[in-house]
């Protein structure tokens, strides 16, 4: 019987396996293949080494490592801001009435239905020196600010793009949480802040981890936003990969993509390992 069952599982998994092979494994294989070969497809480590060693002729700094660390910095900043904004937002949503929850959910989802190029252009018109933001600031009688073309502008664009990916996983964990636990904590003497710190926060860790992963990964490989909102001054690793690809430097582009992927996988494995020990049975698991 178990034999029949496992055969059935195999049959059901068949189409998925084909799909997974086609769309996940094959591209991955080609990325790796290109990363470790030269233009005539002979094995080489040059592309990988170039990422770590290539130096700027003027300043002597390591070009690609610098780009990588800048990407990492902006991604971490954006993720932290998303968390600081998204966590309270998710909490407010779970505490709101059913109707209000639905409306807030739609408001959060709407931007996701829009093409991200359009979203980025929208932010350009808002953040320009003569844009909507400065128009507003000046109407208040204040000095206009220069934000377009700065790292801040890039962060704004990234936060805007990725905030929903932080809110939704946290919300889904919090919504499943038993409100009686909050009452129990109050009953045992907690004030509002203590309830948050001792009950809600520890129970929503799985949601936070999911949210952080879902924001950090796309934001570290962001491109285009940096070109438009950063006026091209802040090359990020995503832009670098795109640039190499566009200029037909496929092997080096693949090498960078491969390195980024390995680093992200290692980071995810580390997070999983560190938090795996904290997981508890039942309760609000993600």
């Amino acid at each position: 019987m178990s034999g029949a069952k496992s055969r059935r599982t195999a049959v059901l998994l068949g189409p998925y396996s084909v799909w997974a092979a086609l769309f996940i494994l094959v591209p991955l294989f080609f990325v790796a293949y290109y990363a470790f070969t030269d233009n005539s497809f002979n094995f080489t480590l040059d592309n990988i080494l170039k990422f770590f060693t290539e130096q700027s002729r003027e300043t002597g700094s390591r070009i690609y490592l610098d780009i990588f660390f800048r990407s990492l910095k902006l991604a971490v900043i954006s993720t932290v801001i998303c968390l600081l904004m998204g966590y309270p937002l998710a909490y407010i949503m779970t505490r709101a009435g059913e109707r209000a929850q639905k409306i807030m959910m739609v408001l959060i989802m709407i931007p996701m239905w829009m093409n991200f190029l359009i979203r980025t252009y929208a932010w350009m018109t808002i953040l320009q020196d003569t844009g909507i933001l400065n128009g507003f600031i000046q109407s208040l009688g204040l000095q206009p600010i220069h934000i377009i073309g700065t790292e801040s502008a890039v962060v704004v664009g990234m936060v805007y793009d990725y905030l929903p990916y932080m809110v939704l996983p946290i919300y889904s964990v919090m919504a499943k949480m038993d409100y009686k636990l909050v009452e129990a904590a109050r009953d045992l003497g907690c004030n509002g802040l203590q309830v948050l710190r001792r009950v809600i926060l520890p129970l929503s860790i799985p949601g936070i981890l999911n949210g952080v992963t879902m924001v950090l990964i796309p934001s570290i490989s962001t491109f285009y936003i940096s070109q438009k909102l950063g006026n091209g001054k802040f090359f990020l690793i995503g832009d670098a990969i795109e640039g190499q690809y566009v200029s037909n430097n496929l092997h080096f582009a693949a090498a960078m993509a491969f390195i980024l992927m390995v680093i992200l996988l290692a980071a995810m494995a580390l997070i999983k390992y560190l938090t795996g020990r904290r997981e508890y049975e039942g309760g609000a698991k993600a």
Binding site: E183, A184, D187, L188, G189, C190, Y280, G283
Partner: protein, 373 residues
Amino acid sequence: MSKELIRLKDVSMKFDGDTILDNINLYFNDKEFLTLLGPSGCGKTTTLRIVGGFLVPTSGDVLFDGVRINDVPPNKRQVNTVFQKYALFPHLNVFDNIAFGLRIQKVAKPEITKRVQEMLEVVSLKGFDHRSVTSLSGGQQQRVAIARALVNNPKVLLLDEPLGALDMRLRKDMQQELKRIQREMEITFIYVTHDQEEALAMSDTVVVMDGGRIQQIGTPKDIYNEPKNAFVADFIGESNIVDGIMRSDGVVEIFNRKFRCLDSGFAPDEAVDVVIRPEDVDIVPESEGQLKGTVTQVTFKGMQYDIIVDFYGFKWLIQTTDFCPEGSKIGIKIDPDGFHVMKKSHYSGMFGDYSSYSEEYDEISDAESEAEE
């Protein structure tokens, strides 16, 4: 008994315009075991939540030691709660769950360890400190919930159907244990249940509620022996309730026959409800009976037989150790103290007829109420 601790004064509670509690007046004495008893939806949990501080009554006052505490939040009340479904913290182990309240109060570490260990002993969970609460059985979780509340030395412990999820056997054991804990620690228990047996067995005072109103307050004996209306008589134990007329003090008429009783204080010829408990009826040969009827159903209950007897079209439940076969004609005798006379109420005529009696009746209604929860 002892002094008053908490009082609910003219407390009403409305949700969306529906009156859920209607003018509740009730006081809780220090060190008393008081039970709120009533059918599902009668407002027991709501009453408890008002005492606990999770709800503010729409009108009326909550007084603690004479001080109005309507707006005092739960964390500032000397009251702890054992919730209907325990609400243990799943991210904490048994020790940390119990220590939770003490840590909030910033009690010193060695003292926390000492008090938690004491509590584990009280609830017979010694050695369970490091177990995850989600790995415990229902009864064990329940005891952790009790320990988590008790360790804070509350003046009052609120318990909302704490034994509802346990099987019969464990339920009985835990009843004993709770009663013991309450006596030993000298804490006021406010206990919610819809199980009348549990209420009678454990309480000093029983408050019977229905439809958001208090129907009767009294000792378990009072409630059983002197029910105030047909609802209480029916809800507490088994009752045959028939229409009667109080002819004079000590004389009640049912089925057009006069009987001696112990009740008095009614207007002459006042229409009343008369309660006769199934165990207060003596079976005698038909010729000697004050009333004569036909046995229509017999159920063996171990200790006794439950028989349904038809008197002039009205069916009674009688409990007897004598076997009377179905279809036999019997006579009955009732001593004066077997009658309990009550004023008419809007519950009159709604209860106390066993025409639709079936032996599964109790089990079915129990199963239903559990499925609702």
